[in-house]
Symmetry: D2
Subunit: 297 residues, 4 copies
C-alpha cells in the first residue's frame, strides 16, 4: 500500500520504519530535514509539504504529532490535509490529544468522505522500534477493520475502543490511572521500607495481594526490585515525567469539560508538576518516588 506519513519524531520515525519493513511504499514529511533524511535512507520517498502528501496517490495517511494544535493545523489549516486530500483516502492520527479535538477533526474528515481513526499508542520509543506498540483505536468498525493490518505492522496489541475519539479517551483514562498507581506504589514501598521491610519482599507480597498493579509488578519504582525497570538504571529511558504530565493535562482538561471530578488525578498532576519543576522532567515518571525518599533532590 502507498502510505503517507507526517511527523517523524522519536515515535513517528521508528513507526514509519516498521511500515517500510512491512513492504509498504512510504511518502514522508516532517519539518526537520534530518528526520526526513533518515527515512529516505531507509527507502521512503520525501515530499515537501503536507499538501504534497495530500496530492500524491496515497491510500492512507498517518500522522504522529506532538499536540492538538499541530493536529488542527495539519488537518484543518489553510494548506491542511482536509483542504486537498482526495476523497476516500483513509486517515489515522496516532498523536495523543484531547478527545474533543479528535472528534471534531474526525467529524469534519468523515463529512467530506475521508474515513478517520484516532489511534494513540502506548509502549514508548522502545515499543515503537520493536513494533510492539499498543494502539487504542477510535472510529467506525469497518474503518478499524480496514486499518488493522497496517497497524499490526507497527504494534502488537490493537484495540478497538468504540467510535471516533474513544482511542484518546482510553489512553487518557488509562494513563491517569497509571500516574495515580505509580504514586500509590511509591508511597506504599516508601512507607513499608521506612517501617523496616525489605523492598523486594514487600513488592512480592503486594504483587500477590490486592495492591497488585503494573506499577508494582512490572515497573516498580523502588531501585533494585525489578531488573530492567527504569528504577534499576537511575530512572533513565522509559516514559518521561514531562510526557506523563502532558497526558495528565489532557485528562484533567477533558474532565473539566465534562464537569467530572478527578480528585486523585488532579493531585497526581500537581505532584508530577512539582517534581518536574525541581528539574526532573526528563527522568522516567517512576522517579516520583524520590519525592518520598527525603533525599536532597
Amino acid at each position: 500500500m502507498h502510505i503517507g506519513f507526517i511527523g517523524l519524531g522519536n515515535m513517528g520515525a521508528p513507526m514509519a520504519r516498521n511500515l517500510l519493513g512491512a513492504r509498504h511504499r512510504l511518502s514522508v514529511f516532517d519539518l526537520s530535514q534530518a528526520a526526513v533524511k533518515g527515512l529516505v535512507e531507509a527507502g521512503a520517498n520525501a515530499v515537501h509539504s503536507v499538501t504534497d502528501i495530500a496530492h500524491s496517490d496515497v491510500e492512507l495517511i498517518i500522522t504522529m504529532l506532538p499536540a492538538a494544535s499541530h493536529v488542527r493545523q495539519v488537518y484543518l489549516g489553510d494548506s491542511g490535509l482536509l483542504s486537498s486530500v482526495a476523497p476516500s483516502v483513509r486517515l489515522i492520527d496516532s498523536s495523543t490529544i484531547d478527545p474533543m479535538s479528535a472528534r471534531e477533526v474526525a467529524a469534519i474528515a468523515s463529512k467530506q468522505g475521508n474515513p478517520m481513526l484516532d489511534a494513540p499508542v502506548s509502549g514508548g520509543t522502545g515499543g515503537a522500534e520493536a513494533g510492539t506498540l499498543t494502539f487504542m483505536v477510535g472510529g467506525d468498525t469497518a474503518d478499524y477493520d480496514a486499518a488493522l493490518s497496517v497497524l499490526q505492522s507497527m504494534g502488537k496489541n490493537i484495540v478497538h475502543c468504540g467510535p471516533a475519539g474513544n482511542g484518546q479517551v482510553a489512553k487518557v483514562a488509562n494513563n491517569m490511572l497509571l500516574a495515580i498507581s505509580m504514586i500509590g506504589v511509591s508511597e506504599a514501598m516508601s512507607l513499608g521500607v521506612s517501617l523496616g521491610m525489605d523492598a523486594k519482599v514487600l513488592a512480592g507480597i503486594i504483587n500477590t495481594s490486592s495492591g497488585r498493579c503494573w506499577s508494582s509488578d512490572t515497573y516498580n519504582p523502588y531501585p533494585g526490585v525489578i531488573e530492567g525497570a527504569p528504577a534499576s538504571r537511575n530512572y533513565t529511558g522509559g516514559f518521561g515525567t514531562d510526557l506523563m504530565l502532558k497526558d495528565l493535562g489532557l485528562a484533567t482538561e477533558a474532565a473539566k469539560q465534562q464537569k467530572q471530578p478527578v480528585i486523585l488525578g488532579a493531585l497526581a498532576q500537581q505532584l508530577y508538576q512539582t517534581f518536574s519543576s525541581q528539574g526532573h522532567g526528563t527522568m522516567d515518571f517512576s522517579a516520583i518516588i524520590k519525592m518520598y525518599s527525603g533525599e536532597d533532590q
Copy 2:
C-alpha cells in the same frame, strides 16, 4: 494440637471453625456468650477468661481482636495472657494493628520465652469461611515454620514478611495502596464513561495496559463490569468502607511516626471518611465510585 482461640467475631469464628475442621482441639474465649456457644456446638471447649486459656495446657494461642487497645489489654493487661501463660507456649496475633504495638507486645512475649508472631489476614469473611485467607506473618523464621501448618488450616497463602511487626507493615502498606488504586480506578472509569466509552470496553483496555490492577481486573467498582464483584450487587458484602478507613488510619499513623509522607494515602483516607460520613460506612469500599457519579448520595 490443643489451641487456644480468643476473639470469635466475624473473622475469628470461621477461622476457629476451620481449626476444628483440621482436627485440632480448641479452647475458646469471647466476651459474647452467643459467639462462644456457636463454637462449642461445633466442638470447641469454652473457657471463662483469658487467664483460663493461659492456665490450660494449650501449646498455641491465637488472638483475633478489633484494635490495638484490645490486643494490649489481652496480652499486657493485669489479667492478661503474658502474666500467666506457661513458658514456650506459642502466640499468634491475627488482629490488624499498628506495627509499633505489634513489635512492642512481641518483644515482651519473646523476652519471657513465648515466641510470638503477628499474622494479620486479608480475604474478608468469605476467605475466613472458605479457609482461603492470606496471612502476612512477622516473626522469627523458626517460629514461622512451626506455625505454618496451623495457619494453612485457615488460609491458602501464607507469606513470611520478616521479623516481628512486618506482617502488620505488609498489610497496612498493601491496603493503603489498595485504597488509592480503588479511587484511581473509580476516577478513570467515571472519566472514560463520561466521555462516552462503554465501561466494559474501557475496563478491558485498562486490564491489558499499564493501568492494570486488582481494583480494575478483579474488583472493578463500576456496576456490571465484573460479575460477582460487590459493584454488581449494589456494594453489599466485600470489605466495608469503615474497615478500609481503619486500615488507612493505621497506615497514616505509622507514616506520621516514621515522618514519612503518604500524600495520596492521606487523601484517600479523607475521601473515604467523607464518604462514610455521608452514611455509607457499611457499603463495600468500592462504592467510593459513587462520589464520582454526581448522583444524590
Copy 3:
C-alpha cells in the same frame, strides 16, 4: 463621554446603569433583546451589532462577557471590534478570562492604536448594582489614569496591577486563594464544632488569631455566625459555586501553562467540582461546608 457597552448580563447590566447614572451617554449591545430593552428604558441607545458600536462615535468601549471565547469573537472575529473600530478609541474588557488571552487581545489592539485595559471585577451582582465593585486593572499607567473616573462610576476600589493581563492575574490568584481559604475555614469550623465548640466562639477566636481571613471574619460559611452572609440565608445570593469553579479553571490552566504547581488550588477545584456535580452549582460557594457536615447532600 459617549461609551459603548457590550454584554448586558447579570453583571454588565447594572454596571451599564451606573454609567448612565454618572451621566455618560451609552450605546449598548447584547444578543438578548430583553437585556437591551432594559437599558434602553434606562436611557441607553440600542445598536444592532458589535460593528455598529465600532462605527459609532464612542470614545470608549467596555465589554463584559462570559468567557475568553466570547472575548476573542467580539474583539478578533471577522466582524469584531478590532476590524472596524476607529483609531484611538479606548477599550476596557471587564470579563474574567485567562491572562494569556487578555494579553494577546491587548497586544493586537495596542498595535493598531487602540489602548486596551483588562479590568476584571470582584464584588458580585450586589457590588455591580451598588457601584462598589473592585476593578483589578492591567495596562499602561497612562491608559489606567485615563479610565479611572469611568471605572469609579462603577466601582469603589480601582487597583492598577501592572501591564496588560495583570488584572486577570490578580483576579485568578486572589480567587484561587479565596477558594482554598473558604474550604480551610469550612474544615476548621466543622472540626471545632464536632469537638464541642460553639461556632461563634470559635470564629471569634480565629478572627483575632493567625487563622484570621475574609472567609472567616466576613463571609463565614457556618450558618448563623455572620448575619447577612449567605450561610445565614441558606447559601442563596452571593458568589455561586459554578462561578468559583470557572475561576479555579482559569487559575489551574494558567498554572499549567506556566508549569507552576498549585497543589491546594487544584484540589480545591476538584472539591468544588464534586460539590457542583452533586447538584449544588448554583449555591453560594461557601456552601462547600456541607461536604463536611455529613448530612445528606
Copy 4:
C-alpha cells in the same frame, strides 16, 4: 501568689520569668538542671520533683510540656501531681495536646477537687518573652476568672473558649486553618509572580480583597513583601515547620476520632511532612513556599 511551674523549655522559661516579674513567688521544676538554674538566678525556688511541688504550699500549678505523653505522666503517673497535690490547688496546663487527653486529665483533676484549665498558647518564643502570648482557655468560667490575672502576667489576649478541652480545640482548629492558608498564599503568590506580577503589588491587592488573611497581610511567605517577617530573613525565627507538623498531627488525629473529614488539613500535613523530610524542619513554616519555587531545595 505562690505558684508551681513545671516545664522550663523555650516557652516555659520566659513565661515563668514573667510571673516572677509580676511579683509572684515561684517554685519550679524541670528535668534540665540548666533550665532550673536560670530561673533560680531570676528569683525562683528550685524543687527536686513533681511530687515536691505538689507537697509545697502552692495555690496554683502551671505546666508547659512537649506532648500529651508528658502531660499524662506529670499529672497521672505514679508520682504524678494528682496523686499528691492538696485539694483545691488550681491547675493550668499550657501544653499543646489533643483535646481528648486534655479533657480526660481535667475530669480526673476536677473529680478530686482540683480545678483545672487547659490553656495552650500562641505567639511563639517572642510572645512568651514579651508577655504578649494569646491564651486559649478551656474550663469552668469561675476557674477562668480566678486564673485571669495570672495569665495576664504572661499574655495579652486571654480568651475563654468554653468547657475543659476547648482551649486545645480552638488551638488545633486555628492552626490547621493557618497551615492551609499559608500554603494557599504560597500558591497564589507563586502563581501570580510566575505570570508576571510584582510580589508586593499582588500582596497589596490580595490584602484588600477576598483573599485577605494573616498569612498574607502579616506573615507573607514571599521574601521582601513584609519587612520583619521570617520570609525576609531567610525563614529563621518564627514558628518552625516541625512545630506546625505537630499541631497538624493533633488536628488530623482529633478529626479521625470524631470521624470528621479534614481534606485540605490532611493534605497540608503531608506537604509539610514532605518539606520537613527534605531537611527543612527547623525553618519557619512559611518556607513551604520553597516547594513552589522550583529551586533546588
